[in-house]
Amino acid sequence: MSKSKIMRISVALLAGLLFGMGMIISEMVNPAKVIGFLDITGNWDPSLAFVMGGALAVFTPIYHFIIKKRAHALNGDKFAWTSNTKIDGSLISGALIFGAGWGLAGFCPGPAITSIASGSNIILAFILSMIVGIILAKQYQQGRLPLPFVGYRKKICAI
């Protein structure tokens, strides 16, 4: 294995551990906590805004003062971010659909994966149906699956 690959895999494992620990410590993994945050007109619990605030307080300066100034990552790989800057219908409708699912059960992908360790069937059901949703989206984007009201996607673009 090349040095860059060893670094890529070990950093990913460490980053995954930190990410999961952050999800558990901040209680992002608790759907009741998430719904409490989303319930702005009721008994609002603003805690989860602090999760995002804490994450941005660490990530934003490291990105702008260190990462952005580099030509490539420390292991020599290219940075994977997209150069796409277009606000289009796919972006907004996708985000609206995701938000509806997030509000419905209080799970988003990160907390669901972290919660696999709880051994709950509910988590398993969420992850399996999420995988089905990912596959259906791929089919739709390739113009192979009609949606209700919308029909087949006509303009096919490479995602």
Partner: protein
């Protein structure tokens, strides 16, 4: 506001931000969880092992924090029908919109990406709306 826990939320958030920064600085990858899962479903050369390692780390993270008394919440009382529908919407929506709470809400916002700012407003607004409507029907 009796459930308000700002300090653990800030500390946990800081760990998430550190994780995203390390992954990007050392190997140029984006810690967007929906993108990592979707990437494993359509594997490309050199892009699967790090994704698998990241997810393994996430699942194993519970073993590290458990000795300090942290627990994973009991989700046994949730409705499996509602949760499955939610999973479908989350999977479909994150692919169509190219990201979730981590990819858009943390990395995208941190990079001041215009796409991520719009996406975050859209999914937050939509989630607020769904919770509001459900509350009108007594938790449905």
């Amino acid at each position: 506001m009796e459930n308000f826990t700002p300090w653990s939320a800030l500390a946990g958030g800081a760990l998430i931000g550190l994780s995203a920064a390390l992954l990007m600085l050392f190997s140029g990858k984006i810690a967007g969880i929906s993108g990592i899962i979707a990437g494993l479903l359509t594997p490309q050369k050199h892009e699967s092992s790090w994704r698998a390692a990241f997810l393994t780390g996430m699942i194993a993270s519970f073993l590290i924090v458990a000795p300090w008394g942290f627990t994973l919440p009991d989700t046994g009382s949730e409705s499996i029908v509602v949760v499955s529908l939610a999973g479908l919407l989350v999977g479909f929506g994150t692919r169509l919109g190219n990201g979730c709470t981590s990819g858009h809400g943390i990395i995208g916002l941190g990079r001041f990406s215009k796409r991520s700012i719009f996406a975050t407003i859209a999914f937050m607004g939509s989630a607020f709306m769904v919770v509001f409507i459900r509350n009108q029907f007594g938790g449905l």
